[in-house]
């Protein structure tokens, strides 16, 4: 919270001329770009998410159960990794263009990855599982009676879908879209590699391209303000659209078997989406990694990068937990004005895009404890500001499920609060806390902008290596660390998914 205030402060005290210049030149363009990118991604996400969820909840066919799992795997690819594989796939004379030219004639050109379409494609493929997941769970718990009523009163399939089913799952769709758009607006990795100017990317560019950080702070302020408006907008929207089950007549939808041809069609569609979002990029990474390994391009330094990433992520996750436990505890057990303020303050990190979090920590550190600048602690702070909210959320929900009676029983038997916490509470919430730890760990492994801006000398992380090599278009050199991150992330994504289902 404090870092954020600092950014606000330095933006407020900026020279009016800087503001005027930004408002007249950069802000309108950036706003339009960010907005149109979000909308483009939203449209594709809705189409993909709803259609995939519909197919998988309403029909069964050979292999239809596997897709439940496969379709969340795209979440394990960091946006910058997906972006860099697509700069290769979509480049002029690249694989996709050659395929396209054999279909559409030799003169046909594919769109460049470094364009609006390229950015939309990459980010949509990266985020559609959000919408898909929420649409799927909504459709699974859907009461089919509503549809049946519509059908018996004479509505056709299509009308029923658009007038009855879709509005009913709307809250879930909006929640999914909200996540996706927040992700797009705060994404740095993909837009920086595809050089698509959004607010987040512009903040980074102003930080690295100019000799003072005022302009970056101003843009951050505008971005954070937009994020807050969006956040409250979403809350308001969700409160307005609630649907209730009024009677006890609830029937789950039963997936129907479908004809072989339809099944083939569905499978083809699923393979296409999955291949584009996960299969093809990962195959490329594997191929490049093999090439790089056999060419001896993986140096002994690689182990060092792995160690940097793993140790720093581990320390951050542990620190996040240690800092988070009292906060989460306060939020659940002792709700006071001050504790709510503290917890909500920590949550502001959620809406801070990476470069802004980095800028905030940078400004704060340079004002208060300049001795720390250039040390690992600064990076750790930036990670914490950014990822503590995720840890808090996980811990809070676990703590909430635990009845206070158990703790009260321990206290009444004479245990002091410390003892109670360590011997009663902690063992019971271990699982939830562990998954919070893992979540933060993985987020840190993937973190890019703050690592780029704040890393100490000789402390390149895997993500930094990927970005440096990929922006030089050295595809093979970027592949091994990218593959490693994906491999580490997959089990975590599956784990979280499993929790979601039970």
């Amino acid at each position: 919270m404090l870092p954020l205030l600092y950014v606000v402060f330095s933006a407020m005290t900026a020279d009016p001329a800087v503001w005027r210049r930004l408002w007249t030149t950069r802000v309108p363009e950036l706003f339009l770009n960010t907005l149109s990118l979000s909308l483009g991604v939203a449209v594709i996400n809705l189409t993909l998410g709803i259609s995939l969820a519909w197919i998988l909840t309403r029909y069964t066919f050979a292999g239809s159960r596997i897709w439940d799992w496969l379709l969340i795997l795209p979440l394990s690819i960091p946006s910058y990794v997906l972006a860099y594989t697509y700069t290769y796939l979509l480049k002029r004379g690249g694989t996709l263009e050659q395929i396209w030219q054999t279909i559409a004639g030799p003169e046909a050109v594919f769109f460049s990855p470094f364009s609006f379409s390229g950015a939309v494609l990459v980010l949509a493929l990266n985020t559609f599982p959000f919408v898909y997941l929420l649409a799927r769970s909504a459709l699974k718990n859907f009461n089919v009676s509503f549809e049946e009523v519509a059908r018996t009163t004479g509505a056709g399939r299509v009308t029923t879908f658009f007038r009855v089913s879709l509005p009913l799952i709307r809250p879930s769709l909006i929640a999914g879209l909200f996540l996706a758009i927040l992700y797009v607006a705060s994404d740095f990795g993909a837009v920086s590699l595809l050089r698509f100017q959004t607010f987040t990317y512009a903040v980074y560019q102003q930080m690295t391209g100019r000799f003072d950080n005022t302009a970056a702070a101003c843009l951050s302020l505008v971005l954070v303000a937009c994020a807050f408006v969006f956040l409250f907008g979403e809350r308001w929207f969700r409160q307005r659209s609630r649907f209730y089950q009024t009677t006890g007549r609830y029937r789950k939808p039963l997936p129907q078997p479908c004809r072989p041809l339809t099944a083939l069609l569905f499978t083809g569609y699923l393979v296409l989406v999955f291949g584009a979002a996960f299969g093809l990029p990962v195959l490329l990474l594997i191929q490049w990694t093999i090439k790089a390994t056999s060419a001896g391009e993986i140096s002994h330094e690689f182990i060092g990068y792995v160690w940097n990433s793993v140790s720093l992520s581990g320390i951050t996750a542990t620190t996040a937990l240690i800092c988070g436990i009292p906060l989460a505890y306060l939020a659940c057990r002792r709700r006071t004005w001050a504790s709510t303020f503290c917890v909500q303050g920590a949550y502001t990190g959620y809406v801070l895009p990476g470069p802004v979090a980095a800028l905030a920590v940078l400004v704060l550190v340079s004002q208060i404890v300049p001795q720390l600048y250039g040390t690992i602690l600064v990076l750790l702070m930036a990670y914490l500001v950014h990822f503590l909210p995720a840890a808090l959320q996980g811990m809070e929900s676990t703590l909430q499920q635990l009845t206070p009676n158990l703790e009260e029983a321990a206290r009444s038997l004479g245990a002091r609060s410390f003892r109670t916490f360590f011997h009663v509470t902690l063992p019971l919430v271990r699982g939830g806390f562990l998954s919070a730890w893992i979540l933060v760990f993985v987020q840190c492994m993937k973190e890019l902008p703050a690592s780029l801006l704040l890393r100490p000398v000789g402390f390149d992380t895997l993500a930094v290596r990927i970005w440096l090599e990929a922006s030089e278009e050295l595809y093979q050199l970027a592949a091994p660390p990218a593959l490693l991150i994906v491999v580490i992330t997959i089990p975590v994504v599956l784990l979280l998914m499993q929790k979601d289902q039970t």
Binding site: R21, T25, R26, E29, R92, G93, S112, F114, S115, R195, Q197, Q205, M207, T208, G209, R210, F211, D212, N213, G304, W307, N308, S311, L312, G314, I315, T318, T319, L321, I322, L362, S366, P370, Q371, Y373, G374, T375, I376, F422, L426, P427, R430, L452, L453, R455, P456, V457, G458, F459, L468, E472, E473, L474
Partner: protein, 336 residues
């Protein structure tokens, strides 16, 4: 459980700590140059001197900001960047210290150094126009300003606004021609380039070689690099603004400076001595087909000799003051 966490924490910190400290005799280099271009020469230096090197690669401007924030605590001993403007900026901010290197007057000409030797140029690159030989005749373009002519609409590719090369080029044009002509030039450039705005020079070269566009401004060595891989590519460099009235081609230098607060002055000096020596110059410049600035070292044979053409007479050190207003001009025109 908490004990396990705590133990894990301590172990991880203990194991990781050594890797965060730099040994006494390790020279810390902040570098704004692509790693692949600088690693060979640093390796050669390590092999010869036994001094090991730690490098931090980042954007040149970001490195200056960083040095400034770190102040006296900076771990950096030297800064290497690809842009003399950035080096001069660092000197103005007193991030460098003046040095005396024996024989420097004979090895690096005065116009490629700061007056007090706070920074020393190592290699030069010129901003030329690459053109597709099947689409353009060399006579069609004589000045860089010609690229803004409407006849090239949709036919040229340009670097993105973030490119230091573009910023340097525009700074020089501003210094020689003034803001009005520069703004008109940039407007024309923007209109003509349309979608063809690239972050990397290499992409401009590739676009010209494929014939997607006819021409574009790039650093000279990207052309040589492309030709080395594809000798038959229909591309050639064009030196603009020559002749009596011409402003000359834009030249920028990569260089090095010793930080004001280094604790390893001797090792830093040794690195500079190595980099300006014939061997160092050759390795430093030749990986990238740049011009060695030591006149006793000949450039790669495929390059036109540095003495054979006219270079813009804007002193490298002026690039520093020109930089911020140039950024504003570029942003005002709305280049991406």
């Amino acid at each position: 459980m908490p004990r396990v966490f705590f133990l894990l924490f301590v172990v991880v910190v203990a194991l990781a700590l050594p890797s965060w400290n730099y040994a006494e005799d390790t020279l810390v280099v902040y570098s704004g140059r692509a790693e692949r271009l600088i690693q060979p020469v640093l390796d050669a230096f390590q092999a010869e001197s036994g001094i090991s090197i730690q490098m931090l690669t980042a954007d040149s401007t970001a490195l200056i900001n960083r040095l400034q924030m770190e102040g006296a605590r900076t771990p950096a001993d030297v800064l290497i960047t690809n842009d003399a403007g950035t080096l001069e900026r660092a000197r103005e901010l007193q991030l460098f210290q003046p040095t005396t290197i024996p024989g420097i007057e004979e090895t690096i000409p005065g116009r490629f150094r700061a007056p007090d030797n706070s920074w020393i140029g190592l290699s030069g690159r010129i901003w030329v126009i690459i053109y597709n030989t099947t689409m353009v005749r060399p006579g069609d373009i004589s000045s860089i300003l010609d690229l803004a002519d409407p006849q090239w609409k949709g036919k040229i590719a340009i670097p993105s606004a973030g490119s230091v090369y573009l910023q340097t080029g525009v700074s020089v044009i501003r210094a020689v021609k003034g803001d009005e002509i520069t703004t008109a030039f940039l407007r024309g450039l923007k209109d003509n380039a349309g979608e063809f705005v690239y972050g990397k020079n290499r992409q401009i070269v590739a676009a010209v070689a494929r014939g997607e566009v006819a021409a574009g401004p790039v650093n000279h060595y990207y052309i040589n690099r492309h030709l080395a891989k594809h000798p038959d590519a229909p591309i050639a460099p064009l030196l603009t603004d020559q002749g009596e009235q011409g402003m000359g081609v834009v030249l920028n230098a990569a260089g090095i400076g010793i930080t004001a607060h280094t604790k390893r002055l001797e090792q830093a000096r040794a690195l500079i001595r190595f980099l300006i020596s014939p061997k160092g110059q050759r390795t430093f410049a030749e990986v990238n087909k740049e011009y060695p600035l030591n006149p006793h070292v000949t450039a790669a044979p495929e390059l036109l000799p540095l003495q054979s053409f006219q270079v813009a007479r804007v002193p490298l050190s002026r690039l520093a003051q020109l930089r911020d207003p140039t950024m504003t001009v570029i942003e005002d025109v709305g280049l991406r």
